[in-house]
């Protein structure tokens, strides 16, 4: 059974349609990269999966469970999310950003939660920053804490919403390295990103979304080298142009 299954998903904001009839399946331990022009509905798609926003039609299944049949807090525990703007809790240290969910949602004791948080901070290379507050960290460090926060909840799937778009170019690499490690370890990841290098090296499948429709989907080599659709080709051409500037 696929871990995530979208069936004919429709979503609109008021009268403004955002997603039309989007369907795809993601296998466990796969890495799905979604690309597309801004406004194509990529972020909305992610937010539908953890119900930060509700779909208007179709179904979404997580490991066979229709997501509306699961308690929303339980669903979100099972689906981690990493944000473009990091969204670290500004009043908590890096460690406590991670322990809050462990203690309040999973009911861990303080000692268990602290130990687990430090373990995950170590995994993202930030063992020495456990007591730092978000405002004391660089963008790349903040995002790595954001990833550790999502990981520590032991999710079945992590959603990445343009995790490197708000970063200075020199800080992107450290975040992508963490994401590549995760992919190698078998974490199931659904990523909206413009990082084509990451898509080529880590993605199992790349999906091109345009104007709320799934235009084309395939392994990275196929989608990047031999796209079937003109729109895909045009978009990738623009993206390459930008990347080579």
């Amino acid at each position: 059974m696929s871990l995530l299954r979208l069936e004919n998903v429709d979503k609109s904001y008021g009268n403004e349609p955002v997603l039309h009839d989007v369907s795809f399946d993601m296998e466990r331990q796969s890495v799905e990269v979604i690309v597309g022009p801004s406004g194509s509905g990529k972020s909305t798609l992610l937010r539908c999966v953890n119900r930060l926003t509700e779909i208007n039609g179709g179904e979404i299944y997580l490991d066979g469970d229709e997501i509306h049949s699961v308690d929303e807090n339980e669903l979100r525990r099972r689906v981690g999310m990493v944000f473009q703007g990091f969204n670290l809790f500004t009043h908590l240290t890096a460690r406590d950003n991670i322990t809050l969910g462990l203690r309040e949602v999973l009911g861990a004791s303080k000692d268990e939660a602290d130990a687990k948080a430090d373990d995950y901070l170590d995994r993202v290379g930030l063992a020495d920053q456990a007591d730092s507050y978000p405002a004391e960290l660089s963008g790349g460090q903040k995002q790595r804490v954001g990833i550790a926060r999502a990981l520590a909840m032991d999710p079945e799937l992590i959603l990445f919403d343009e995790p490197t778009s708000a970063l200075d170019p020199e800080l992107i690499g450290e975040v992508l390295a963490v994401m590549e490690d995760l992919a190698e370890e078998g974490m199931t990841m659904l990523c909206v990103t413009h990082e084509m290098g990451f898509a080529r090296s880590a993605a199992s499948t790349v999906t091109f979304l345009d104007d709320g429709r799934l235009v084309e989907r395939g392994p990275p080599e196929q989608l990047f080298e031999n796209p079937e659709h003109d729109r895909t080709r045009a978009f990738l051409g623009e993206l390459n142009g930008l990347n080579n500037e």
Binding site: N50, L52, N73, E74, R76, R77, G80, M81, F83, G85, N87, L88, F89, T90, H91, L100, G101, E104, V105, S132, Y133, P134, A135, E136, R149, A150, M153
Partner: protein
């Protein structure tokens, strides 16, 4: 007034009556504390209700706030004192505290303060970035847990400057209890210069209590500055 200003004998008179004024200071501080406590107890939830509540509760809170903020505080104090059926509870000796006047003043100052504190908290809650709530919900925290562990701790810190302002206003506005004869600082000041032959001391007495109000507001503001700095988030909130 042809009296010689700032006569030594008038200052001597005030100095001789310092205990009489000090008891007024005690009442002023008590009234400030009870009013602010009532204001906080009602204003904090009201601010949260105006942000998160829906329907009638939010509109009740909103309407009450508009009325309280739109009424002069002296009017509220006098109205509550004469219109509310507060039982005659007698007088606390030594500080000469008339209990029903104290209750009426606490209700008037406290409710008015609640209306302003609600605005302070509402603004502070709304100033917390919406990404904080999204991140909290995305970890699996319920809305209530998110408000309690993520939004409130940040909002309370942000509301401290506004609360500090409110503290100063309430402290000074306790003087309107003068209108219902509560023996706070201003009332006692008047009782001093209304003594036979002491009308020459009006300005000296007023200057003295102004200085006392100033010292009270200044020291509490410094204390709250210190609290603010102790709870500030290292590196700021970005």
């Amino acid at each position: 007034m042809d009296a010689v200003l700032l006569q030594v004998s008038d200052w001597q008179f005030i100095f001789n009556n310092w205990q009489f004024l000090a008891l007024g200071v005690v009442v002023t501080i008590m009234l400030t504390v009870t009013s602010l406590t009532l204001g906080f107890a009602l204003g904090f939830p009201a601010g949260a209700i105006e942000v998160y509540g829906d329907g009638w509760l939010a509109s009740v809170s909103n309407t009450a706030g508009v009325i309280l903020r739109g009424t002069p505080i002296v009017v509220l104090v006098v109205l509550f004192f004469f219109a509310l059926p507060i039982p005659r509870l007698g007088t606390v000796p030594v500080i000469d505290l008339q209990l029903n006047a104290f209750i009426a003043a606490t209700l008037a100052l406290g409710l008015r303060s609640a209306a302003y504190q609600a605005q302070v908290f509402r603004g502070a809650i709304q100033s917390v970035d919406s990404g904080q709530m999204e991140a909290a919900r995305s970890v699996g925290l319920s809305k209530i847990q998110s408000i309690r562990h993520v939004i409130f701790p940040q909002a309370v810190r942000r509301s401290l400057p506004g609360f500090q302002n409110e503290f100063t206003i309430v402290l000074k506005d306790t003087s309107v209890a003068f209108a219902i004869g509560l023996a706070e600082l201003l009332t006692r000041a008047e009782q001093l210069y209304l003594q036979p032959g002491r009308d020459t001391a009006v300005i000296e007495v007023i200057i003295t209590i102004s200085a006392i109000y100033f010292v009270l507001t200044f020291t509490t503001n410094r204390a709250l500055d210190y609290v603010h700095s102790q709870y500030a988030i290292p590196g700021g909130t970005e």
